[in-house]
Symmetry: C2
């Protein structure tokens, strides 16, 4: 029994086969006439620009769109995958925002392929919309360094622990590290592929893809059996950017697909985030360029910074705190007085006041305070630095040791 | 023979002994009455705030300001140092800009000690003003990592090669690495000290200080014999910031003196620059925080970025270029056609057009182009990827190999 819904579904699948996903002209036709009529018009060669007409004609020579769509559905069913279309309840609404990117002048074909997907192939149990609702993209270089993989794994693990879904592209390097981090935390992760969900690429990540499909999702705009053609990775990137609240680039060389994902995220109003790295590493060159070129791109060093961008309002990262030093509890004058006490031996009030450049009465007051805190002891009619042996209480010992350490390590801030 | 100039000089020296350098009240008195009268008024306890009066009284107990100033000059002469005052031709004019920082509400004593120095002790031959004319500060953590030291050394070396003077604080870690880098290039370097130039601190850098003094300069606001008291490092930092065109922080922990130098540089309109590092390194935490907190702080990864900030206008850093790939010379459609050629065997025109999703005529044109560039060869009535064995010219070989490598490495961008 064939319903109208089934026809729409078939038409959408056929359209993604007939013309590569993201095509703006096809998007406008679907918007104007609906998927079924848009497909008919394309097949008939009606009212199209010459380039698109030629592309459709070329592909039509290799098969019938309806038959191919039926075959794709059958193939997907065999491997436990499903097709999700915008008419379905689990369609991820945020990808609709891609329409914001349309109508711009495009320098390259890839910049013209920015329309929302017409359908998504999905392998894995969780509903697509729920899985992507609280999600963040963690992407980066394939030729990642161990530093980058460590950062990606840790970040994804911690975000997954806080019930954020980690979205990435399933590639070697940073992508795989991010997926693994999320899996280690028992969290949800979604791999957005540039090929069929039945034969995820690269093959070296097959075990990883199987693990992802067990608890998370493999998704793709291309029907099962599709090859990971070069240009598809760039088209795919817009989905990663649109489906998430923000994109974190962990490592990227000077020219990288990750920087393109980040550009899309920025254009869509998603949070663009970049992890810096050693300036000596080629794998951080792209990251540093993004940070230099775009003031709105946020430098992030860990989960707190990421949550500050994507998390609920008010979830601000704590300020990093340096090592607490006993000196830090002192006001400026007390610190000056303490500095004036000789490293060895003792000194009298007048001498200390002179060295500190503070009047005698204030110096006296500060000395008393410092003595009560355990920084100083009275000796030989003057004041000396407290030592471990002389300190009586545990606190005083610790404080006095700290004060000595601060001095003997040079006292420079 | 004692001239008025000598009296002014003596008064300035005495003032820096009587009250720690940078004091705003003293600065205003010198501005209003001249150094000689300002000194008299301070010694007399005239018209001062109580705190300053107390500080002066305390120090007066340990000696006579004029005698101490005379002794300091004699001591400096013995070790080949000189005193430079604003009345001298070689006074570095940019430090006058420190007056811009005055009159602000100050949270701490250090923030009140922002007035320009009244005199500078100098060890080394080059005229102070010339040495500092084209200068940049390279500063950072004492407990630097080998990464930080490598970056500081390299940067200082390259800047010195371009005849930039490297200014730093003579401390262990980044400071020492910066001085050493400049020395290795045979360039000028200036250490701004927080103690007397006769006994530079830390003692472990004594050999380095001697080398600096041979070709560059050791300078200090404190008379010979002065101790490197803790608060002096912070006071000293304003001179590093003011005397240079910009400050580069290479490594800094969460609470560091380097971040204070950078704050001063920003407030003075000097260029604030920060080198990022691994987010896993405690020595880069301060750097990343500065970059996050202050949009005007520039992330720099090497000399090109630094020159873009401090160099003549128009000296822009070149864009980093990724590895050139044969694909990069192709337009989008040609790339699509190339992608459509099977990895093994050949394919005909119609099949390739269908796979690429491009009309047959355009596909034909692109195939001819790709063949002429050596990407493809005709075979079995179709087109196949060119291989090393089949390529005839050296260029074609290289290109074809590149194309294959790009494909077999996954073709993902």
């Amino acid at each position: 029994m064939s319903t109208r819904h089934d026809h729409v579904r078939l038409a959408r699948i056929a359209l993604h086969w007939l013309v590569e996903p993201g095509n703006e002209t096809v998007h406008r036709m679907v918007n104007a006439n609906g998927p079924i009529r848009a497909l008919e018009r394309l097949v008939e060669g009606d009212a199209l620009d010459g380039e698109l007409r030629g592309a459709v004609a070329a592909r039509m020579q290799t098969g019938n769109p309806h038959e191919i769509a039926e075959a794709a559905i059958a193939r997907a069913e065999r491997l436990g995958a499903r097709i999700v279309v915008p008419e379905d309840g689990e369609w991820p609404q945020p990808v609709r925002d891609l329409t914001r990117l349309l109508g711009r002048t495009a320098d390259s074909r890839v910049d013209r392929d920015l329309a929302p997907p017409l359908c998504l192939w999905v392998r894995g149990a969780p509903p697509l919309d729920e899985a992507l609702d609280r999600s963040v993209a963690v992407v980066g270089a394939r030729a990642a360094t161990s530093y980058g993989e460590h950062v990606a794994t840790t970040l994804a693990y911690q975000l997954a622990e806080r019930e954020w879904t980690i979205v990435s592209g399933g590639a070697y390097g940073i992508d795989a590290a991010a997926h693994r981090g999320a899996l280690s935390a028992g969290g949800l992760t979604v791999a957005v592929l540039a090929c069929g969900v039945d034969r995820p690429y690269p093959a070296g990540n097959t075990a990883l893809f199987d693990r992802i499909a067990e608890s998370g999702l493999l998704i793709s705009e291309w029907p099962p059996g599709s090859d990971p053609l070069r240009h598809r990775f760039l088209i795919r990137n817009r989905v990663i950017a649109a489906a998430t609240r923000g994109t974190v680039v962990v490592e990227a060389s000077a020219r990288s697909g990750a920087s393109q994902t980040l550009r899309r995220a920025r254009a869509l109003g998603r949070r663009p985030m970049v992890v810096p790295g050693p300036v000596t590493s080629a794998m951080s060159v792209g990251c540093h360029e993004m940070l230099r070129d775009h003031p709105e791109v946020r430098l992030v060093t860990g989960i707190d910074h990421v949550l500050e961008e994507i998390g609920p309002i008010g979830e601000l990262a704590p300020r990093p705190r340096g090592v607490e030093r006993p000196h830090d509890v002192l006001d400026a004058e007390s610190a000056l007085v303490l500095e004036s006490v000789p490293r060895r031996g003792a000194a009298g009030l007048d001498e200390l006041a002179a060295r500190a450049g503070i009047d005698v009465r204030t110096t006296m007051r500060k000395l008393t305070l410092l003595e009560s805190l355990g920084f100083l002891t009275r000796r030989e009619g003057g004041y000396a630095l407290a030592t471990k042996a002389r300190a009586t209480s545990k606190t005083a010992t610790k404080t006095a040791k700290g004060a000595k350490a601060a001095r003997s390590s040079g006292a420079a801030p």
